[in-house]
Amino acid sequence: MRFVFVDEILALEPGRSIRAVKTVKADEELFKDHFPGFPVVPGVLLTEMMAQAAGKCLDAERNPRGKAMLARIVSASFRDWVGPNEQAVINAEIKTSQPKYATADCYVEVRNKKVCSAELLFAFLPMERLAPGYIDEVLESYLNRQK
Protein backbone atom coordinates (compact mmCIF):
# COMPACT_ATOMS: atom_id res chain seq x y z
CA MET A 1 0.00 0.00 0.00
CA ARG A 2 1.07 3.57 -0.54
CA PHE A 3 2.06 5.35 2.65
CA VAL A 4 -0.44 8.15 2.10
CA PHE A 5 -2.75 8.48 5.08
CA VAL A 6 -4.66 11.58 4.11
CA ASP A 7 -7.08 11.16 1.18
CA GLU A 8 -8.36 14.71 1.09
CA ILE A 9 -8.09 17.95 2.99
CA LEU A 10 -11.46 19.43 3.90
CA ALA A 11 -10.32 22.62 5.60
CA LEU A 12 -6.94 24.18 6.18
CA GLU A 13 -5.59 27.25 7.90
CA PRO A 14 -1.85 27.05 7.18
CA GLY A 15 0.20 26.78 10.34
CA ARG A 16 -2.89 26.76 12.54
CA SER A 17 -5.36 23.93 11.90
CA ILE A 18 -6.46 21.27 9.45
CA ARG A 19 -9.38 18.90 8.94
CA ALA A 20 -8.90 15.98 6.58
CA VAL A 21 -10.22 12.51 5.82
CA LYS A 22 -8.84 9.04 5.25
CA THR A 23 -10.60 5.75 4.56
CA VAL A 24 -8.62 2.51 4.75
CA LYS A 25 -10.28 0.24 2.19
CA ALA A 26 -11.46 -3.23 3.15
CA ASP A 27 -9.32 -4.89 0.48
CA GLU A 28 -6.03 -3.74 2.06
CA GLU A 29 -3.90 -6.76 2.89
CA LEU A 30 -3.17 -5.57 6.40
CA PHE A 31 -6.65 -6.58 7.51
CA LYS A 32 -5.76 -10.23 6.92
CA ASP A 33 -3.42 -9.95 9.89
CA HIS A 34 -4.94 -7.14 11.94
CA PHE A 35 -6.95 -9.13 12.91
CA PRO A 36 -8.35 -12.36 11.39
CA GLY A 37 -12.11 -12.14 11.82
CA PHE A 38 -11.86 -8.76 13.52
CA PRO A 39 -10.39 -6.27 11.05
CA VAL A 40 -9.47 -2.90 12.57
CA VAL A 41 -7.19 -0.07 11.46
CA PRO A 42 -3.95 -0.29 13.51
CA GLY A 43 -3.35 2.45 16.03
CA VAL A 44 0.00 3.23 14.45
CA LEU A 45 -1.80 4.06 11.21
CA LEU A 46 -4.29 6.30 13.02
CA THR A 47 -1.28 8.04 14.54
CA GLU A 48 0.27 8.34 11.08
CA MET A 49 -2.95 9.93 9.80
CA MET A 50 -2.71 12.57 12.51
CA ALA A 51 1.00 13.12 11.85
CA GLN A 52 0.52 13.47 8.09
CA ALA A 53 -2.43 15.85 8.50
CA ALA A 54 -0.62 18.05 11.03
CA GLY A 55 2.49 17.93 8.83
CA LYS A 56 0.52 19.20 5.84
CA CYS A 57 -0.85 22.02 7.99
CA LEU A 58 2.72 23.07 8.81
CA ASP A 59 4.02 22.50 5.27
CA ALA A 60 1.24 24.68 3.87
CA GLU A 61 2.98 27.68 5.44
CA ARG A 62 5.80 27.28 2.87
CA ASN A 63 8.23 28.08 5.64
CA PRO A 64 11.91 27.85 4.61
CA ARG A 65 12.65 25.73 7.70
CA GLY A 66 11.62 22.71 5.59
CA LYS A 67 9.23 19.79 5.63
CA ALA A 68 7.59 18.83 8.91
CA MET A 69 8.69 15.38 10.08
CA LEU A 70 7.27 13.52 13.04
CA ALA A 71 9.91 13.53 15.77
CA ARG A 72 8.03 12.30 18.80
CA ILE A 73 4.66 10.91 19.81
CA VAL A 74 4.40 12.81 23.07
CA SER A 75 1.17 11.03 23.96
CA ALA A 76 -1.46 8.96 22.22
CA SER A 77 -4.75 7.41 23.29
CA PHE A 78 -7.06 5.03 21.44
CA ARG A 79 -10.67 4.91 22.53
CA ASP A 80 -12.52 2.91 19.93
CA TRP A 81 -12.03 0.61 16.94
CA VAL A 82 -11.92 1.87 13.37
CA GLY A 83 -13.02 -0.69 10.85
CA PRO A 84 -12.39 -1.15 7.11
CA ASN A 85 -14.14 1.41 4.88
CA GLU A 86 -14.92 3.68 7.81
CA GLN A 87 -14.09 7.28 7.07
CA ALA A 88 -11.72 8.78 9.61
CA VAL A 89 -11.99 12.54 10.03
CA ILE A 90 -8.61 13.84 11.14
CA ASN A 91 -8.24 17.09 13.05
CA ALA A 92 -5.05 18.85 14.06
CA GLU A 93 -4.36 22.12 15.78
CA ILE A 94 -0.85 23.56 15.90
CA LYS A 95 0.05 24.52 19.46
CA THR A 96 3.57 25.88 19.04
CA SER A 97 5.62 26.58 15.94
CA GLN A 98 9.22 27.73 15.96
CA PRO A 99 12.11 27.42 13.50
CA LYS A 100 13.31 24.14 15.02
CA TYR A 101 10.11 22.48 16.23
CA ALA A 102 6.34 22.50 16.24
CA THR A 103 3.75 20.72 18.33
CA ALA A 104 0.21 19.72 17.47
CA ASP A 105 -2.86 18.46 19.28
CA CYS A 106 -4.66 15.98 17.05
CA TYR A 107 -7.67 13.70 17.12
CA VAL A 108 -9.61 11.40 14.81
CA GLU A 109 -13.37 11.06 14.65
CA VAL A 110 -15.43 8.27 13.12
CA ARG A 111 -19.18 8.71 12.88
CA ASN A 112 -18.83 11.94 14.89
CA LYS A 113 -17.21 10.08 17.77
CA LYS A 114 -13.63 10.72 18.89
CA VAL A 115 -11.72 7.46 18.48
CA CYS A 116 -8.16 8.57 19.22
CA SER A 117 -6.03 11.58 20.05
CA ALA A 118 -2.35 12.44 20.14
CA GLU A 119 0.10 15.17 20.99
CA LEU A 120 2.86 15.23 18.39
CA LEU A 121 6.24 16.91 18.13
CA PHE A 122 7.70 17.81 14.73
CA ALA A 123 11.18 18.67 13.53
CA PHE A 124 11.97 19.97 10.04
CA LEU A 125 13.88 18.50 7.12
CA PRO A 126 15.48 20.83 4.56
CA MET A 127 13.56 20.53 1.29
CA GLU A 128 16.79 19.84 -0.61
CA ARG A 129 17.03 16.49 1.18
CA LEU A 130 13.91 15.33 -0.68
CA ALA A 131 13.76 14.15 -4.29
CA PRO A 132 13.99 16.97 -6.84
CA GLY A 133 10.52 18.04 -7.89
CA TYR A 134 8.86 16.44 -4.88
CA ILE A 135 5.41 17.79 -4.18
CA ASP A 136 2.73 16.74 -1.71
CA GLU A 137 -0.06 15.83 -4.11
CA VAL A 138 -2.83 15.91 -1.51
CA LEU A 139 -1.77 19.32 -0.22
CA GLU A 140 -1.24 20.77 -3.70
CA SER A 141 -4.63 19.46 -4.81
CA TYR A 142 -6.31 21.26 -1.93
CA LEU A 143 -4.39 24.50 -2.46
CA ASN A 144 -5.14 24.46 -6.19
CA ARG A 145 -8.85 24.08 -5.47
CA GLN A 146 -8.72 27.19 -3.31
CA LYS A 147 -7.33 29.37 -6.12
Binding site: K95, T96, K100, Y101
Partner: protein, 84 residues
Protein backbone atom coordinates in the same frame (compact mmCIF):
# COMPACT_ATOMS: atom_id res chain seq x y z
CA UNK B 1 -4.94 28.78 31.24
CA UNK B 2 -2.13 30.20 33.38
CA UNK B 3 1.50 29.37 32.87
CA UNK B 4 3.08 26.67 35.00
CA UNK B 5 5.14 27.94 37.92
CA UNK B 6 7.35 26.18 40.44
CA UNK B 7 7.50 27.38 44.01
CA UNK B 8 10.61 25.37 44.79
CA UNK B 9 13.53 23.61 43.16
CA UNK B 10 12.23 20.14 44.07
CA UNK B 11 9.12 20.67 41.95
CA UNK B 12 11.22 21.89 39.04
CA UNK B 13 13.58 18.91 39.30
CA UNK B 14 10.59 16.55 39.27
CA UNK B 15 9.32 18.23 36.09
CA UNK B 16 12.75 17.89 34.45
CA UNK B 17 12.93 14.24 35.49
CA UNK B 18 9.53 13.54 33.96
CA UNK B 19 10.43 15.43 30.81
CA UNK B 20 13.53 13.31 30.24
CA UNK B 21 11.90 10.11 31.56
CA UNK B 22 14.56 9.91 34.22
CA UNK B 23 14.26 8.77 37.83
CA UNK B 24 13.87 11.99 39.88
CA UNK B 25 16.61 10.74 42.21
CA UNK B 26 19.04 11.05 39.29
CA UNK B 27 18.17 14.68 38.57
CA UNK B 28 20.13 17.16 40.70
CA UNK B 29 21.23 20.72 39.95
CA UNK B 30 24.79 19.54 39.34
CA UNK B 31 23.78 16.60 37.10
CA UNK B 32 25.59 17.11 33.78
CA UNK B 33 23.58 16.94 30.59
CA UNK B 34 25.53 13.90 29.36
CA UNK B 35 24.34 11.93 32.40
CA UNK B 36 20.72 12.40 31.33
CA UNK B 37 20.29 9.77 28.61
CA UNK B 38 17.24 11.35 26.97
CA UNK B 39 18.81 14.83 26.87
CA UNK B 40 19.97 14.27 23.30
CA UNK B 41 18.99 16.18 20.16
CA UNK B 42 15.42 14.89 20.32
CA UNK B 43 15.34 15.58 24.04
CA UNK B 44 16.46 19.13 23.33
CA UNK B 45 13.58 19.63 20.90
CA UNK B 46 11.20 18.19 23.47
CA UNK B 47 12.62 20.52 26.12
CA UNK B 48 12.32 23.58 23.86
CA UNK B 49 8.73 22.74 22.93
CA UNK B 50 7.70 22.12 26.56
CA UNK B 51 9.29 25.38 27.72
CA UNK B 52 7.31 27.09 24.96
CA UNK B 53 4.00 25.35 25.69
CA UNK B 54 4.06 25.36 29.46
CA UNK B 55 6.03 28.52 30.30
CA UNK B 56 5.93 30.62 27.12
CA UNK B 57 9.73 30.51 27.13
CA UNK B 58 11.22 30.58 23.65
CA UNK B 59 14.68 29.08 24.04
CA UNK B 60 16.75 29.65 20.92
CA UNK B 61 18.85 26.76 19.66
CA UNK B 62 22.18 28.40 20.49
CA UNK B 63 21.03 29.14 24.04
CA UNK B 64 19.73 25.60 24.40
CA UNK B 65 23.13 24.29 23.34
CA UNK B 66 24.75 26.27 26.14
CA UNK B 67 22.91 24.27 28.80
CA UNK B 68 25.53 21.97 30.30
CA UNK B 69 23.81 20.75 33.45
CA UNK B 70 20.41 20.57 35.10
CA UNK B 71 21.23 23.68 37.14
CA UNK B 72 21.56 25.70 33.91
CA UNK B 73 18.00 24.72 33.06
CA UNK B 74 16.86 25.76 36.53
CA UNK B 75 18.50 29.14 35.87
CA UNK B 76 16.48 29.51 32.66
CA UNK B 77 13.29 28.91 34.64
CA UNK B 78 14.38 31.41 37.31
CA UNK B 79 15.35 34.11 34.82
CA UNK B 80 11.88 33.86 33.29
CA UNK B 81 10.17 34.01 36.66
CA UNK B 82 8.93 30.44 36.48
CA UNK B 83 10.83 29.22 39.53
CA UNK B 84 11.04 30.99 42.89
Amino acid sequence: MGMKHFSNTKEALAWIGELFEENPDNIKPDTPREKVAAWDSLGMLTLMSKLDEEFSIILEEDKAAELKKVGDLLDVLRVHGCLD
